[in-house]
Amino acid sequence: MLSYVALKVIWWVLVGVLLIGFAIMDGHDMGVGTLLPFVGKGDVERRVVINSVAPHWDGNQVWFITAGGAIFAAWPAVYATAFSGFYWAMLAVLWSLFFRPVGFDYRSKINNQVWRKTWDIGLFIGGFVPPVIFGVAFGNLLEGVPFHFDENLMPYYTGTFWALLNPFALVCGLVSSAMITCHGAVYLSHRTEGDIQRRAKMAATVFGLVALVLFAVAGVWLAMGIDGYTITSALNPGELPNPLGKTVAQTPGAWLENYHRMPIAMAVPALAFVAGLGAIALVRSGRTLLGFVASSLMLAGIIGTAGVSMFPFVMPSSSDPTSSLTVWDSTSSHLTLNIMFWAAVIFVPIIIFYTRWAYNVMSGKVTVDYIVKNQDTLY
């Protein structure tokens, strides 16, 4: 069995992998959903847009479900504290996701424009709202969240829902929305042709640039205006996890510490910019598949930046810093981390293998002609 400390670090990486996997896979479906009312003019064009993701969105959504399950298994304290604390934000995510399974499956089963346009709005909500809320949630994590544990380790969130919607967090929400929309646009420009592809390429450019500009703004804001957190007591990362067993202080510039200590970590935010600009250039020159790889790397860079800046913190507490959750004290037991590590090592490659096969089977452009010929069986 790997050492407890190693597994704690590995699980920080694996949660990151699952979140990035979620952003890449489910993210492009959500980006497509966000763009649906704008790049598809008329019913047939909208069906082209929908059918570019129709065979895959359900499998891709499992990245979200599995990331939730993995956080439950690996970081039960985070799962308990974050989802109960962000109660209404989480419900808003769940409820907007409700529109997708039914929206995809039911929309084209009835040939009525009001019915179909209503589901298009539903698919837009299901694509647009979750990335915004995830971004806002990350913004709040970076600022610290007002919560504490009692002596039995029951978590109490003492903020309000509206306090989550503060200016910095909203900027993070916009970064998230723009990057996901850009990513969806890149995917669309790979899978479509003609007018839809032209609009998608335009959207990829615009939202890619917006994402990078806002990412830079958020970065400067974080460096200048947001106090980070540091562990001030002696640290023994191999100990049994006890979130109350340490002291924590809020200090200006603490979120830059990891970059001072390990300058190579600067490669993560740099990757976001390089890959983002690369994605735009590649898509505009018609190399859309490479563009998709590049925009995926941009997502990895942006999400990774949040993770690297905060390490080892996962969910710092602004009202009771001692209660902050870190990778050392919010994990499950040594045995569970080990079992889940092997489960991930075995299954993630298998999943990637058959997902790739599924995309291969369905490869090629989705065209207006294809929709018209198969209008009773396609979404």
Partner: protein, 509 residues
């Protein structure tokens, strides 16, 4: 302190969303295999009618599956949103099967369901059949993992409490995996799903036969559903019995309440068919028994006794009294974690820790416990008898009705005269809703019967919730009810529309 109202509302929301989710799951479990059977016949015989059958039933399956996915999203996150202390306290064990369910099962079913619908014409026949089979395996694996998680709630094996982390921790993954309660629940639950899928196909096919429409597809579908449904009904009954056996071992209070068995009966105990239950005075005014049957089912022996409710409560009283000491020692140990004497003391007491925690519903400080409070906590340890007693009987009665219906349908389809038997076709049509009712009753008996615990003997329900405001709960329950009502109306509308429409000929260009 957590208010009773918050706990009740949290339970209401979980029960409502879980029962609602469970309207769609059993049909999915059964339909995937029925689709596999139909498509296998198509691949083997090359007759296009079986391809059309697969596509037609697949379309109805898809309408159902969409809501299964929608309502399933809620379940994955609701432990965190509404059961935060539960998630902290048992996430180390309970989270693992949930995460593995995602990795092993959800990805499989959700990836291949896309190819099931969109892969026709793109995949060679045999490969498409393989896709359908993988989808069915994924669906059934997800039932396995969620029932491993649920089985651990009923019978928490392979784990131990840690005073440092203030939670249960896994000590033996294989014990959690091969928990006999989980295995029994899995086979019984998937069998119930196969009955549901078979009834769905049998009923709608019967309706076509009564109307004289889509005869070619209806006749073949009827036969497949009759055979698969009969096997499933037999297995649900036999493996339900297996489930009773393990419940008897792990959860005596559940079986005693299910049977309204107030006193320990001399072995082998009789099975009570019906009874007039007087919950207040802890007795039945009258009852009709079948001698020996319960003892044999519940203990697999003629000489082992099953304890009655009054005896169970007496034993629980001792455990609650011991549990007070366990809670006090734990508090002292948390304040002084390096005290070896306390560690040793706690090690001897912690088996009853959960029973001590039952008192937290009434007091936060164990010094405030009075004999009256202990009485209340003791009474809590056995759930209300009447709903379990009658819920269980209704489920079993329905189970036998499915056995007879599918038995008759199978017999008639072997004789080849089922199309002329109007009474059989009408019975099948009329019986369409009952598998769902039986499934929901089964869920109710299993989970309500577990009260007052979320983790039996370990964590009381009362302590498991998130510290939310009552107002938040009212808001979220209203939201769920609103969404789920609209979704159900839309789903039923589409289901009925496409069932009425029947297999349309767009596939025969």
């Amino acid at each position: 302190m957590i208010s009773n109202q918050l706990v009740d509302l949290s339970r209401l929301q979980f029960a409502a969303t879980a029962l609602y989710h469970f309207l769609f799951v059993p049909l999915t479990l059964g339909m995937t295999w029925i689709l596999v059977i139909m498509e296998s016949v198509y691949v083997m015989t090359n007759k296009p009618v079986y391809r059309d059958m697969t596509k037609f039933w697949g379309k109805l399956f898809g309408i159902n599956f969409a809501l299964g996915v929608t309502t399933g999203i809620t379940m994955e996150f609701q432990f965190g949103t509404n059961w935060a202390y539960y998630s902290h306290y048992v996430g180390d064990i309970f989270g693992a099967p949930l995460a593995i369910e995602g990795l092993m099962a959800f990805f499989l079913e959700s990836t291949f369901i896309g190819l099931f619908f969109f892969g026709w014409g793109r995949l060679p026949k045999a490969q498409h059949l393989m896709v359908t089979i993988l989808m069915a395996i994924g669906t059934n694996l997800s039932a396995l993992w969620i029932l491993i998680a649920n089985g651990w709630m009923q019978n928490p094996v392979g784990s131990d409490f840690s005073y440092v982390t203030m939670r249960m921790e896994m000590t033996d993954f294989w014990a959690v995996l091969f928990n006999p309660v989980a295995q029994a629940k899995f086979v019984h639950t998937v069998s119930a799903g196969y009955v549901t899928g078979s009834m769905f196909v049998l009923s709608i096919s019967s309706w076509y036969l009564l109307k004289g429409r889509h005869i070619e597809i209806a006749r073949r579908s009827f036969r497949i559903a009759a055979a698969f449904g009969f096997a499933a009904a037999c297995s649900a009954i036999v493996l339900g019995d297996e489930s009773g056996y393990t419940v008897g071992d792990a959860q005596q209070s559940k079986i005693a309440a299910m049977e309204a068995m107030w006193h320990t009966e001399p072995a082998p105990a009789p099975l009570t068919l019906i009874a007039d239950i007087d919950e207040k005075n802890q007795k039945n005014d009258w009852q009709i028994d079948m001698p020996y049957v319960l003892g044999i089912i519940g203990t697999r022996s003629l000489d082992k006794q099953l304890p009655g409710i009054i005896e169970i409560k007496a034993k629980n009283r001792e455990r609650i009294v011991n549990g007070i000491d366990a809670v006090k020692t734990l508090e002292a140990l948390r304040a002084d974690p390096n005290n070896d004497a306390l560690k040793a003391k706690f090690a001897t007491e912690k088996a009853d820790l959960g029973y001590g925690l039952l008192l937290r519903k009434y007091v936060s400080n164990m010094d405030d416990v009075t004999p009256a409070i202990i009485d209340q906590a003791v009474n809590d340890t056995v759930p209300h008898v009447a709903p379990l007693f009658w819920g269980f009987r209704a489920m079993v009665g329905l189970g036998f009705s499915f056995f007879f219906l599918f038995g008759s349908a199978l017999y008639a389809s072997i004789r080849g005269n089922f199309e002329k038997k109007k009474w059989l076709l009408k019975w099948a049509l009329l019986w369409l809703p009952f598998p769902w009712i039986a499934c929901e009753l089964g869920w109710f008996v299993a989970e309500y019967g577990r009260q007052p615990w979320t983790i039996f003997g370990v964590l009381p329900t009362h302590m498991s919730v998130s510290a939310l405001s009552v107002g938040s709960l009212y808001g979220s329950i209203a939201g769920f009810l609103g969404f789920y009502t609209v979704l159900l109306v839309v789903e039923m509308y589409l289901m009925i529309k496409f069932a009425r429409l029947g297999p349309v000929s767009h596939d025969h260009h």
